[in-house]
Amino acid sequence: MIVANRKSLGEILEMLKPYRKVLLLGCNECVTVCAVGGEREVGVLASELRLSRAREGQEIEVREQTLERQCDYEYIDQVRPFVGEYEVILSMACGAGIQYVAERYRDKLVLPAVNTTFLGVTLEQGVWSERCQGCGECVLHLTGGVCPIARCAKSLLNGPCGGSSNGKCEVDKELDCGWQLIIDRLRELGQMDRYEEIIPVKDWSPARDGGPRKRVREDLRL
């Protein structure tokens, strides 16, 4: 899932300073699962905004609305009947959702309430961890199912580097060395011969280096 972090209330209040009527949009997908922008978080942020403004003796009207997704226009269009009643849209979706809402309502200012952070997994209730950087050319078949791009601080394809110590990364003592994880896993799988093979230089053009990416499946197009 896409994992995000809530922006601080101070930052959000600063963005909203000139506005009194706000449409607060949550998203039922990834940001709900990582507890940052779902219906509950929309409720909490709306409450925080009302309390802050009330404390300063100022008014604010916040309409709470959580869409099924903000990355599909069918759902974004559900707020069209009343979007005009609000001065500004505050979105709690990931960066993709926020931008798509802005694209659908070109005359509305759309503000981000979260910082989109990574593609990751739920380690345990309330703990999320990065696993993928969407580099466009997966190498997990070579590295025992552990991604060297996302999990090595240097994204080394042939590691570890000299900063690996007792299985931890020099960047942070709490952080597992990605290449230690790869070697441990290859050993468990009996595939240590793979470790001997040099992985050639990666083609980064399918990653962000080739510019914004697009995927088309002609058979699905209407």
Binding site: V44, S47, E48, R50, L51, S52, R53, G57
Partner: protein, 116 residues
Amino acid sequence: MRLNYPPNVKVVRVPCTGRVDVLLILRAFESGVDGVYLAGCLEGECHFLRGNLRAKKRVEYVKALLEEVGLGAGRIEMYNMSSAQGQRFAEVAREMTERIRALGPSPVKKSLKREL
């Protein structure tokens, strides 16, 4: 026991403090209350095993939120007491009332009055 406690304390009954959601507390502040405290069972004696421990964490979370909002973390607290500790219940009610009185009325209340 015929114990007295300040009449400003309004008791909201819940099956377990684990039922108390962050939003419930925030809504209470939005409605203009000056302070909130949770009276949970003693730690380790939750009938639902972890209800009071979860409530404790949520109270900590709400403290941070109230600090951000500007109402101050002092307006919320978590207490633990058993159902046999009526004395303690009254003591906590007095303690919290004094604390909130020292902090003064919630600044949110002024805005609410204006709306009325």
